[in-house]
């Protein structure tokens, strides 16, 4: 096995991040060296993983890599293993893409901060942690990576420690994140005590037949632990604080990458380790937690006054979609869930970068203070709108493509099982999507449209580097939205099949090739061909525009003079000289909120912001999970 053999690529991908992190500690004082190192490691890692796509995704190969060549022998896998199947590679690609774009963005975004070398170190540590987690074939190594990424994320949350609330957010994250990590460690220990191995594949082979009290507790511990990483309800308040305080480029990682590690862990847990997804209660647990996260967090987002906190809650809401879809345990559902996980990384990354651009130029993300930036930052506005349309599920962007699959999967599941609960889930998913649209309309109105406050008169467009990063995400948003078949075929379909075939995963660790099932890719019942639609829209838009232009549509009268706005071009303000009055912020949809006022006031009282409460929630959630699993499993 030569050094350049593809089997080495996964470990290289991880090591590039860590190597970059350490080298930046050494040479990071120099700006150019720092940037070169960072870019090299993020680009290299991405390139390595992309090169694996043909083999693992379409070829169906499972790469098993033993550190130091200490391969499986004698019935026990002692060595440190990396096992890369389609699922791992799928998540690894998400990580690599998000880290790459975020890294490109960071160059200009962080230039005014202090301690930039430390930032890059932590940034790459976080990336490496997540990458290690998703590629690892070893439960204990997963825990190690969880620890690395948690502490890197805590440090990055508090990176701008002069900002209000940064340290508080980091502290909250530290406390509850540690509870989560501890749960994972405890779960790992309990499993090890039962079956005396830490290799994931081997665990997956041994546990499913031997579930008893202790393994149930381990299951609950691991589930709660990974839920903490994904910020699922009831751990959602942490995400809001962490995202609100962290730099935008870090938010991209926290929301696009870190939460995915939680989802990855849960998928590995329920589909591989315990292989319990054929059990209705476990399906119920996932779908329930997913739906509650989906709905609660979207309503929480509607009540937010801060751009980044709003995005944070949406992040969890979208993770709720993913978990719900995964919990459906059908090929279509899993494929849709993974698709949505990918899309979420892309569009949420784009939105966080847009929020970062706003913060970079205006110094605030307060929705009540911003407004009218579209005239000053047109490119950012367009990019934000693409992201907003994606997350809100507006065709033809990627959010719609995956959500549409999720609705269908949920409804089909409802019809298959005759369970009216899944019908409810479908409706919740559809309504949540509209609520998401509502809060992004709110952001558009409050930040990019509406009136420009005087204090932001001289705001400029963000530097090209940042726009480039955002454009990358935007292009991905459009591409993955327009080519759902391709995405399903190349990325999510194989990953979904990997999820449904734990046997291959288990066997691959022992070096046994189980032929890939040639099951058909999951098919949707409905019809949606975005390219055709786009073609039609394009033609009709072109035709209408042509007619309009022939009718002198563009002959508008505009304010030609510079400073002084004549009355004609002033806003109609009931005859008054228009003064600054921005309608926006958290109370924009009071017609909705009025009808839900009891719910909102309940939620408001519940989210006290006290870390003790949140720690208590974590403990209660753990207790509930243990009790539930003891009863049903």
């Amino acid at each position: 096995m030569s050094m350049l053999s593809y089997q080495h690529f996964p470990i290289y991908a991880i090591m590039l991040y860590f190597l970059g992190a350490f080298l930046i500690v050494l040479f990071g004082k120099n700006k150019i060296a720092r940037h070169c190192l960072a870019l090299l490691s993020v680009t290299g890692s991405l390139a390595l993983l992309v090169s694996l796509v043909p083999r693992v995704m379409t070829g169906g190969e499972i790469i098993t890599y033993w550190m130091g060549n200490r391969a499986y022998s004698g019935g026990y896998a002692i060595g440190i293993a990396l096992e890369v199947d389609a699922l791992s590679l799928f998540f690894a690609l998400l990580v690599a893409v998000a880290v790459f774009v975020s890294g490109v963005y960071s160059i200009r975004y962080m230039e005014h901060d202090d301690n930039i070398p430390q930032y890059y170190t932590l940034f790459l540590m976080l990336a490496g942690g997540v990458m290690g987690l998703v590629l690892s074939g070893d439960l204990f190594n997963m825990f190690i990576m969880v620890e690395i990424l948690t502490f890197a994320a805590v440090a990055l949350t508090a990176f701008r420690n002069t900002a209000r609330g940064a340290l508080e957010a980091a502290f909250k994250y530290l406390v509850v994140g540690s509870i989560g990590s501890t749960c994972i460690l405890a779960g790992t220990i309990m499993l090890y005590a039962q079956v005396h191995t830490l290799n994931f594949a081997q665990l997956s082979g041994l546990i499913p037949g031997h579930i008893h009290g202790a393994t149930r507790v381990a299951f609950a511990l691991l589930f709660v632990g990974f839920s903490t990483k994904a910020f699922l309800v009831p751990f959602h308040p942490l995400a809001a604080d962490a995202h609100g305080a962290a730099p935008a480029s870090v938010s991209v990682l926290i929301s696009g990458v870190l939460t995915k590690s939680g989802i990855y862990g849960i998928i590995r847990l329920v589909y591989f380790l315990f292989q319990t997804m054929n059990l209705r209660p476990i399906q119920f647990m996932l779908v329930f937690v997913g739906s509650v996260s989906m709905f609660v967090c979207v309503t929480m987002a509607l009540a937010q006054h801060d751009f980044k906190r709003l995005l944070a809650f949406h992040s969890i809401s979208q993770i709720g979609y993913v978990l719900t879809a995964v919990g459906l345990s059908t090929a279509l559902g899993i494929s849709a869930g993974l698709y949505h996980a990918m899309n979420h990384t892309i569009f949420k990354g784009l939105l966080f970068l847009a929020a970062g651009a706003v913060l970079h130029e205006t110094g605030t993300t307060d929705l009540d203070r911003l407004g009218g930036l579209s005239k000053r930052m047109p490119h950012t506005t367009v990019l934000f709108l693409i992201g907003a349309a994606s997350i809100s599920g507006i065709p033809p962007f990627n959010g719609f493509a995956s959500k549409w699959l999720i609705y269908q999967a949920a409804y089909l599941r409802a019809v298959e099982t005759g369970n009216i609960g899944y019908l409810l889930v479908t409706i919740i998913a559809l309504v949540t999507s509209t609520l998401t649209l509502a809060s992004f309309v709110k952001v558009s109105q409050s930040v990019f449209f509406g009136r420009l406050p005087d204090e932001f008169k001289d705001v400029k467009e963000v530097p090209f580097g940042m726009r480039l990063a955002m454009s990358l995400f935007a292009i991905l948003c459009v591409l993955t939205g327009l080519l759902p078949e391709l995405v399903t075929k190349v990325l999510t379909g194989p990953a979904a099949q990997a999820v449904l075939n734990p046997v291959r995963y288990i066997a691959a660790a022992r070096g046994i090739e189980v032929p890939a099932e040639t099951a058909a890719l999951p098919q949707a019942v409905g019809a949606w061909s975005p390219i055709n639609w786009l073609l039609l829209l394009g033609i009709s838009l072109f035709a209408i525009t042509l007619v309009a232009l022939l009718g002198k549509y563009d002959r508008v009268s505009e304010n030609a003079s510079g400073e002084k706005i004549p009355a004609k071009y002033d806003l109609f303000f009931s005859g008054e000289k228009s003064v600054y009055s921005q309608v926006g912020g958290g109370d924009l949809f009071w017609g909705f909120k009025h009808n839900w006022r009891h719910y909102f006031s309940f939620m408001h009282d519940l989210h006290s912001g006290v870390v003790n409460d949140y720690a208590l929630w974590a403990v209660v959630a753990l207790a509930l999970a243990i009790a539930f699993l003891q009863i049903v499993l």
């Binding site: 047109p378 549409w404 449209f449 806003l571």
Partner: protein, 347 residues
Amino acid sequence: MFTPAFFTTALLYLGYILIFPGFLFCFVVGLLLCGIDRKAVARMQKRVGPPILQPFYDFFKLCGKETIVPAAASRTTFMLAPLVGLAALVVIQLFIPVFNFRVFRNLPEVADMIVILYLLLIPAVSVMLGGAATGSPYAGIGLSREMVTVLAVELPLVMVLLSVAKAVGNELGTGLVFSLSGVVDYQAAHGSLIGHVSMIPAALAMLLIIPGETGNHPFDAAEAETEICEGLLAEYSGAPLGIYKLSHAVKMLTLTSLFVALFLGGIGTGVEHLVAAIGLTGGVAAALSLILQVLILVLLCIVLTLVTISFVHAVTARLKIEQLFKYYWTVVTGLALISLVLAWYGF
């Protein structure tokens, strides 16, 4: 690739987009529906009312007016938003089958019901963004109300569509039918869905959804001209305003013909047999039956407009936005829910 056949097909589809059931059809029938609505409301209020062609006059007049772009507005969004909204609506119209006539007869279907549900958001979003781009505070309030209206209408509409999908799926034994063509095909073979017990509440709910989705009185809190100066359209003038008005009219056509496709799909499909019975064959028969089907569709759309939009307009006063939301999430959702449960248990 560039064979004569390709060009013929391309021309045919261009014709679909531009003439029927695309732009020209939408323009004429939409504005006609709007005119009939205005006339009918006037008659119900014991007035004479404007001429049926009044919306056409309004549209052409607006085309001749000056278009003022406020200094605070971002021009691109301001000018582009109406066009995108209209184009999206016209495209939706292509996806709604006219009884046996379908644009995508020989091609895979482009969009199913759920997609149409979301495509219907595009015009709403475009008007919201266009309005928001002006920076007017009235538009801000209008945007808030428009969005809440969309939220309010979306839940029952989702449930109506799901119950239709389930009901047709039940009948055909395939579980679910999301495709609109499938729904219409089923109705062509087995009679209109409105005849099913389970679909009657859904049809009622859909009737109540139509004025909400189009933003007609009494659900026009978003454009209340007496209190928030037309809301989102407060700063629009001239041709873009005309296009918004046209979009509103086309939306009436889209939703009523969606209703026809969902619940009355069986009414016009017998025409082909009728034409064949007269003894006509070939192109003439096809043309005649198409014309007849279109006429029936237009007629049904007019009737639906009268019932859902004009009549409701004439007998009610505008709802406040929170009342509107409550109304849709209780009464209309309740109706849709009954239908969904009935369809679920196979009635």
